[in-house]
């Protein structure tokens, strides 16, 4: 097709694509601009001067909500979810490639995890942890063990919420690993083995370096999906909320550009993560290209 001259349909489709990109980014750019509203400015245009007033208001805290604590929690949880997603998806990908009994069941579970509505997953995890709490309380009264007496709830950021996030990030990670391993040439591993490398050596010196760009991609999915996750977290979090949950609450109560400032900040964090992930991938590919296939 590439030797044909550009047709009218190309220009129509290109225009459609441009409109789509505008539709995709336009609204976000609008709140980015409006977050620099002057102190007198409101939620809509026009801009009443340009200032960082709303950012400093945000810095001081939004009402009763400790937004920075929530921000920190989401950041830490995102990093933990990212690390676990990369590790678990990578090793599961290796296992799937070799094949094992029950692999179909595990694959079905992963797909189910994607397509079961988030609210149902969240509700289930919430119920599960209530049952666990009841169990611990019953155990506490039955045994009288002092360390169980003050048990509040097992629900929390790194238990129920992390689990809820993993049900969302892991399927994506696994699907990416499938796509990656389907294109991975086993000859590299065989060569390493022929040269006397052990299984672990093959993994660390051959497989991981070759797959590194894809693993960065999995990490990107792991972090961003967790950092922005809301529906699955909603019923599976203890007393302390994550940032998206606080944000959702603020949409009904905050009527100043402060919420746009918060939006700009959250988007900036995502943007930094996305940019660094993409740069890492580019850098890895460049380095590989520079070293060349022969010197590998």
């Amino acid at each position: 097709m590439s030797d044909r001259p550009r047709t009218l349909s190309f220009y129509l489709l290109a225009a459609f694509f441009a409109l789509f990109v505008l539709f995709l980014y336009g609204p976000t750019l609008t709140i980015l601009v409006l977050s620099f509203q002057g102190p007198q400015g409101g939620l809509t245009f026009p801009l009443n001067g340009v200032s960082t007033h709303w950012f400093s208001r945000l810095w001081a805290g939004v009402g009763v909500v400790d937004i920075w604590a929530a921000f920190g929690r989401s950041l830490r949880l995102g990093l933990v979810a990212m690390a676990l997603t990369v590790l678990l998806a990578f090793f599961a990908g290796l296992a799937f490639r070799k094949g094992f009994r029950g692999s179909n069941l595990l694959f079905t579970l992963a797909v189910a995890s994607l397509i079961v509505p988030s609210i149902v997953v969240s509700l289930g995890i919430g119920l599960e942890f209530r049952v666990i709490d009841d169990g611990i309380k019953a155990l506490a009264t039955a045994t009288g063990w002092p360390f169980l007496q003050d048990h509040g709830t097992a629900m929390g950021l790194y238990t129920s919420a992390l689990g809820a996030h993993l049900t969302w990030t892991l399927p994506f990670g696994l699907l990416i690993m499938f796509a990656v391993f389907n294109r991975f040439d086993p000859a590299y591993e065989e060569a390493a083995r022929d040269l006397g490398a052990t299984g672990a050596q093959t993994l660390t010196h051959v497989v991981v370096p070759i797959l590194a760009p894809s693993l960065v991609g999995v990490a990107l999915f792991g972090f961003t999906l967790s950092f922005d996750e809301l529906a699955r977290t909603s019923q599976a979090i203890g007393g302390r909320n994550t940032l998206p949950l606080e944000l959702q609450g603020l949409t009904t109560t905050v009527t100043t550009p402060e919420i746009y400032a918060l939006g700009t900040l959250t988007t900036a964090v995502s943007a930094v993560v996305i940019a660094s992930a993409l740069c890492t991938v580019l850098w890895l590919q460049r380095r590989r290209a520079r070293r060349g296939p022969l010197k590998l």
Binding site: M1, F23, L43, F91, F100, P117, L123, G199, G263
Partner: protein, 313 residues
């Protein structure tokens, strides 16, 4: 000669076989070990919670506590008033409302997603440009959904950009109410958020289509539209199905978008569950969740019949 030689290979074959068996067993154990962590996560945070929800949906409850005694009352409550009377019951009305969003979103995301994917796959010639444009489509997916929802406020609000523009152009005299916090804004937000779920799988399907097939179609005298209808679309069916599954399940279970973009005024199945959870009516919420799950599974069943998801990667 043979009598002497024969045992030797047999022995030689025997020895490696036992060590191979040990090695093979070790490798198998290793494989299980590699898959175990993920299996454990899905067991603890998906399988058990779902079974527990199913179980609790049959339990009794009152204002104070949940009673582990079997009852079908929760399911009767879900469908209360559905069998008698000519008016639609609450549940059916809620499902119809959600299904309406589902259908609207599905049609819009499919049309937009297909067009965008088609442009990327068949009209962008350089591989690098293709990757960059594809990334441009996916980057918003990695940013916050709530932020992307509230970013419509300055555009659709009563004094928003759309109303201002319309008025200054003299097209409308007073601001149009109901751009924001309406069925329209909810659908718009769904399309805004979920079109990417259509683009990626459809693009993936299109990228695998052998370009020779397109050439053959043209050589055989087919027009562009005929090629699209008889070659491209049939070969994109798996991608369309995967995208549809995503969109359908995301919209069916949604309560955040309907909440934020509907100004907390529009009912959805997910929202019913969320409200019941907040009143600690767990068995009722569980019964609703099971009905929702059943409805979603029924909708997906048809789609999954068509495709083998694993082969598509």
């Amino acid at each position: 000669m043979t009598e002497i030689v024969l045992p030797a290979p047999a022995l030689a074959a025997d020895k490696p076989r036992t060590s191979l068996n040990a090695g093979e067993r070790r490798r198998r154990r290793l494989t299980y070990l590699q898959a175990a962590p993920m299996a454990l996560v899905f067991l603890i945070f998906l399988a058990i919670p779902l079974l527990l929800t199913l179980m609790v949906s049959f339990w009794e409850y009152n204002e104070y506590e949940i009673v582990p005694a079997f009852t079908l009352q929760n399911y009767r409550d879900v469908f209360e008033g559905c069998l008698n009377g000519s008016d639609l019951c609450t549940t059916v009305r809620t499902y119809l409302s959600t299904l309406k969003f589902c259908a609207l979103t599905w049609v819009c995301t499919l049309l937009i997603g297909f067009t965008v994917a088609y442009f990327l796959a068949f009209h962008v010639r350089s591989r690098t440009t293709q990757t960059v444009l594809f990334l441009i489509c996916t980057i918003p997916f990695w940013t916050s959904n709530v932020i992307r929802m509230i970013s419509w406020i300055p555009l659709l609000g009563r004094n928003g950009l759309v109303n201002d523009t319309l008025q200054s152009l003299g097209l409308t005299k007073s601001p149009i109410e109901g751009l924001l916090y309406s069925n329209f804004s909810v659908t718009l937000a769904f399309v805004h958020l979920y079109t990417v779920f259509m683009i990626v799988p459809i693009f993936n399907s299109m990228a695998r289509i052998d370009r020779a097939l397109i050439e053959a179609s043209y050589d055989a005298g087919a027009t562009g539209w005929q090629t699209l209808a008889n070659v491209v679309i049939p070969l994109c069916k798996p991608g369309i199905a995967i995208g549809s599954i995503f969109v359908v399940t995301l919209v069916m279970g949604d309560f955040v978008t309907v909440g934020v973009m509907g100004g907390q005024q529009i009912a959805s199945v997910g929202k019913v569950i969320q409200v019941q959870m907040s009143y600690l009516q767990f068995p009722a919420a569980a019964a609703n969740a099971m009905v929702l799950l059943g409805a979603v599974m029924l909708m997906i069943l048809g789609l999954t019949r068509i495709i083998d998801l694993r082969r598509e990667l």
